[in-house]
Amino acid sequence: MNGTSVHVVSAAMIPMGRHRESSYTGLAVPPVADALRCSGLAATQIESVYCGHAFGGMLTGQRIVKEVGISDIPVVNVDNACSGGATALYEAVHALARGEHDTALVVGVDKLSQFGGGTLPLVTEDWEVRQGMVMPALYAMRARRYLHERDATVDDLAMVSVKARRHGSRNPYAQYRKEVTVDEVLASKPIADPLTLLQCCPTGDGAAALVVVTDDVWERLGRPASLRVRASVLHSGDFQAGFRNMLRPEITYRSAEQAYNQAGLGPDDLDMVELHDAFSVAELVYYEALGLCKPGESTDLLRSGGTTYGGSTVVNPSGGLLAKGHPVGASGAAQVVEAFWQLTGRAGERQVPDARIALTHVTGGGISGLDHGACTVHVFERAS
């Protein structure tokens, strides 16, 4: 990364779930207040706010921070579909690295229970959405292609959910904390063939908050245990009107490559990854895109146990989007909360032993001609 180095000095979130009695403000104020309290900074020392959300409506960030004594400073609201929270962090990190501010509050929040359930409402101005495209169908077509091209079966897809639920069962912040079997996953309600309900992230509500500061402020705070940001990358994807290889999502390949270059690190250096497992097949495809294995070897990597505890890189120790939940604009920030807890040794019974380097990855969107409309990748290193 160019410019001054940037730290995440505190991180907080609420358990994900259906919080029907809470507004966007009600969801976000508790983690914002907790992150502020743990940062060692007063609310009046926050110089900028970046709030990621997809469905919060006008001035979501202002509706939140006015409740915690933050006023007058710039508040920027960021929509980037599922990448909203991570894009808010990206904006904060680069503003601090450029020297525009010394401190920032990052919020990711969304409330999907307002839609009652079912598939995410997409933008009907889009041609493919008007033809009936929904997010599960997009990933289901990717899954069908994966089963066709790879030496894999639906059991392998189901194993992704089994692993996610096993990790999530040890995370008190996860929406789903019950372990499941391959048979239970495959017997659950069909959503978009070959994907079943337990291979799809739940709809729910959540909020996460991060306090981000420059190196100088981190020194002044007494060098608390923190995440040093080694890479912060955002891509929007390459428009194609014709053929697209759905097993080679170029937006994630490019984002990962740039992130590793920025960090001066590679996939072998990662102790943990939080990646965008919105649907079971996505985790397998992203093993390859993030370089955790060679293209074509993701099924073997999952089967080998290399991406769970005891393996080379624990993927989605939080339970990921499949178990922890996926309130879209909150997820990118919530992934960083998990990285913060893991790298500062506060992850309890799901602690990845001696985790030092983490990568977070979140994509966003379903619109015609793009693999996804956004992809954010961050790499963090433990600092203390």
Partner: protein
């Protein structure tokens, strides 16, 4: 002198079908005369060069089914229905409804355009070619 900029009228449902000389209906996309970029459905501005010199491009009625899924939960319409990505030889990939048996398809099979009397269109199994 300035010229007036007008918005694209892209919410008007595009004409997607045309009739070939032999009377068979076909999907129609756009081809840019300047940079050859091709797209479906028709466009008024080229995504490749921003030019507006686009011509209608009738598309083959037979293509290859890249992948497909029967949707059983949807926010946007009655279920179930089957969607697929059909790659046409002229270049465009078309998101299409697949007709007939929900599970009667395989990846990479040939599919052919079917147009109903009411003008609705879908792709179905292509029985005319075995390749």
């Amino acid at each position: 002198m300035t010229h007036e900029l007008l918005p694209l009228r892209d919410l008007v449902e595009p004409v997607v079908l045309s009739t070939a000389e032999d009377g068979t209906p076909r999907l129609v996309g756009s081809r840019c005369r300047h940079c050859d970029a091709r797209a479906f459905p028709r466009r008024t501005v080229c995504f490749g060069c921003l030019g507006s010199d686009l011509e209608d491009m009738p598309l083959s009625t037979s293509g290859r089914l890249y992948s497909y899924s029967t949707v059983r939960v949807s926010a946007s319409r009655e279920v179930p229905y089957t969607l697929g990505y059909v790659d046409l030889p002229e270049g465009p990939r078309v998101l299409a409804h697949l007709a007939g048996e929900l599970d009667g398809y395989t990846v990479d099979q040939r599919v052919r355009l079917q147009v109903a009397a009411d003008g609705s269109w879908a792709f179905g199994p292509d029985t005319e070619v075995s390749a």
